[in-house]
């Protein structure tokens, strides 16, 4: 059940109304049942893997907690064993369902390099929706209990709800147990203002997804599915469009998730914070997919030594984290290269920082001046967007073709109408640009004020005009319905 389906538009109000109607004691059970129904609507068998991951991490938490209580010799070693077992089972499931074909193919390729002929075994297992998200969230619980950040949850049902909570189950935000688990014990009463804020955020999410991301997708798909046919300006436009497509797609999903949870009284972590205004790649990763970045920081980067080590080790840590981050997104070399590129960006940034700072001092460049900030934001966007080519391309070969074609300058595309023959006719093309402008403007304005609160402070006529106009904009300009081809949320495949 996708957030953009009619089923969800019935499911969500029904679940919410009943959530506030039933007694507090039964609410977690109701949400758990609703979450499993939500998940099983894709494929009932997916629930088995979700349940296995839940039971394994919950049991590991209990066993680690028991070791703490017993205080036997070798407690730390025993705790580590339970953590390792939990990690092994969860990552094992992830590898089998997501990476088996990829690793088998890679193995065959390596053998081929050494002149050994081998046919890659293809298992073609169905990739369960959201497996990377809930696996990471469940694993974080095991590690948090091990670190003593949270006490083991004794109630399997409540823990199962933590792993399966429907707003963020299939594409995050990836929540930490200490943030989300205690919320299931809170008493939530219906709060009208909170519900309005949540619904407004959902409305914005639907706009980002249906009116902007899915419209941009039409042009992006046209160019990226036939890379050899397009050059210069067409590839550049498609690549810029993809930057906003993936942003609006994923941020749209996150906003719907956070808004839906907020209506019910739950606080989910912000996942995007104006990422394309970042002035460095490092800053970009503090603003893009924030909860995944935090996960990698807390459970991989810091355990590897983070930046409290030699510079070379620091660089290696960065490369490892971003290679894994790329692989997390998908079982393909394109994603690995995308991750590595971000690692390289960061390493270069790290190594050149002293020289850059010295040069800036000598030239008297003020770091906070508007032109410098603008230049840095633009440069960061170009780097990020260049990396997106690998992320979106259907294969490494396609990515190289696209990059090659990017430099085949064809300014005539600006006036000969070829930009309007990429799946978006002129009105739709301009609507796409308007969508990008609207999203950028909203990001710009929200730097200084809470836009939702500003709207809610206005009079009823203004508020209702915005609610109705916003809804009608989505209903008219959105890509949905039986006669159009709406795209699945991109991050569902991860």
């Amino acid at each position: 059940m996708s957030f953009t389906s009619i089923q969800f538009l019935i499911f969500f109000p029904a679940v919410t109304i009943l959530y506030f109607v039933i007694p507090q004691k039964a609410r977690w059970a109701w949400l758990l049942a609703a979450s499993y129904y939500f998940f099983m609507s894709w494929n009932p068998y997916y629930a088995i893997l979700l349940a296995v991951s839940t039971v394994v991490t919950w049991t590991s938490g209990l066993l680690i907690g028991r070791e703490d209580l017993r205080k036997r010799p070798n407690t730390v070693r025993r705790k580590k064993i339970w953590v390792a077992l939990s990690v092994f089972v969860n990552i094992g499931i992830l590898v089998v369902f997501k990476y088996l074909d990829f690793f088998c193919g890679l193995y065959a390729e390596i053998l081929h390099i050494f002149g050994i002929s081998a046919q890659a075994v293809q298992f073609d297992l169905l990739l369960p929706v959201g497996i990377s998200f809930y696996t990471f969230q469940a694993l974080s619980y095991t590690v948090d209990v091990y670190r003593g950040d949270i006490k083991p949850e004794k109630n399997l049902g409540k823990y199962a709800l933590f792993v399966s909570f429907f707003p963020q189950l299939v594409a995050g935000p990836i929540e930490k147990s200490k943030d989300l688990l205690p919320q299931f014990d809170e008493v939530h009463t219906f709060d009208y203002d909170r519900a309005r804020k949540g619904l407004l955020l959902m409305l914005w999410g639907y706009f980002q997804k249906t009116a902007v991301a899915d419209r941009l997708a039409t042009l992006v798909n046209t160019v990226y599915n036939s890379p050899q046919k397009y050059s210069g300006l067409e590839v550049a436009v498609a690549t810029v469009f993809f930057a906003f497509q993936i942003y609006c797609d994923f941020a749209g999903y996150s906003n719907i998730a956070i808004g839906a949870a907020q209506v019910m009284g739950f606080r989910l972590t912000k996942n995007f914070d104006k990422p394309y205004f970042s002035k460095s790649i490092k800053e970009f990763w503090r603003r893009w997919h924030i909860t995944l970045g935090a996960w990698f920081r807390d459970y991989l980067y810091i355990p590897l030594g983070g930046n409290r080590c030699s510079k070379w080790r620091h660089c290696l840590n960065l490369m490892i984290v971003f290679a894994v981050c790329g692989l997390w997104h998908g079982a393909a070399m394109t994603f690995v290269i995308w991750g590595l590129l971000h690692g390289v960006y960061q390493v270069i940034g790290l190594l050149t920082r002293p020289a850059k700072q010295r040069a800036e001092q000598k030239l008297g460049i003020r770091e906070n001046s508007f032109p410098v900030r603008l230049y840095r934001a633009a440069a960061t966007f170009v780097l990020v967007d260049f990396a997106w080519i690998f992320f979106r391309a259907n294969s490494l070969w396609d990515a190289t073709v696209l990059i090659g074609n990017l430099f085949r300058f064809n300014p005539a595309a600006l006036w000969n109408g070829s930009l309007f023959s990429l799946g978006l006719a002129a009105p739709d093309f301009w609507a796409a640009l308007l969508g990008i402008a609207a999203v950028t403007a909203a990001d710009l304005l929200s730097r200084r004020r809470d836009l939702r609160q500003s709207l809610l402070n206005r009079g009823p006529v203004c508020r209702w005009a915005v609610y109705i106009a916003g809804t009608m904009v989505i209903l008219i300009f959105g890509i949905y319905g039986p006669l159009q081809s709406p795209s699945q949320f991109i991050y569902f495949q991860f």
Binding site: F190, A431, M472
Partner: protein
Amino acid sequence: MVKKAIWKSCLFLVIIGTILAAFSPLFTYKIDHRGKLLQGLYKSDDTYDVVLMGSSHMNGGIDPNVLWHEYGISSFNYATGGQPIDVTYYLLKEVLKKHKNPLVVVDVYYLGMTDPYGVSGFVSNALDNVHFSLNKVQAIHNCVPFDERLFYYFPMLKYHFRWSSLTQKDFTYDSASVYYAKGFGAGTSHYGKQDISYANTQKKDAIPPKTLSYLNKIIWLSKKENFPLLLINLPCDYTDSNKEDGWVNDCEAMFNTVADVAEKNGVAFLDLCDRMDEIGLDFSQDMNNAGHLNIWGAVKTSDYLGKYLKENYSLSDHRSESAYAQWNEDYKKSQAASVAGG
């Protein structure tokens, strides 16, 4: 607090629903099917002694202007392309709201459909042009898959993407401009091939369960509402239909069962596939394609049907009535249009 939220949510939904309902006609395609249904169902004040219902076979097979010119029969063709029999049932109920006890002629070709629901675009062509009522709700509930129903209640949700291609015609559309044809519309091609599927078989095949239930509903409705019912099958080469997914494998055998059902219920069934020689049809010249008559074939078939109706039913000749003065003009216009088209 909860009551306030529910009240405001309802108000919000009513406002959005009203806007969608108000703008749906603007976004709906202005094709001839829209024009004829709006006229035939709601706008025209003419009364019809005969109403013609069904799919494209009927739409392009029986010309009310020929029935009028040759026999003085007032009729209207409500058939639309790809119209499943369940949609025909609800459309007939809509027709009966305005026209009491007409002779109802139902094309039964779509009894062969085995899929539970018709092709969305075809169903839309009919239901999008029916005004909101309990009958429309029931039609949508029974003829449309669950996840598409909202798009039928508010067609603007289905056609919203037309914002970029709306033309002057969408704003000023006048359905009266197509009324002269009385719902008829046939092609002007010549198929050029003979019917290779026809076999005078006694074999009988079952009617698919859903379409059979709607055939029974139509028969039951004729008894309840007390109107004469004539089931009709128009000339067709079943070769492709028999191979089609979502269709019975032997149309000829199924229509033998239809004949049995009709006889059992005391309803007339006219299988024109068995009467092509009587009609004087040359399949290669009088068909637009394997399944549809062309305008020349339609004239012959309409003439044959008019004669059959005159002989078997008590139908008045309205040609001299002043209330129908415009119908003679409409006939001339339809002939001119046919000549221009041919």
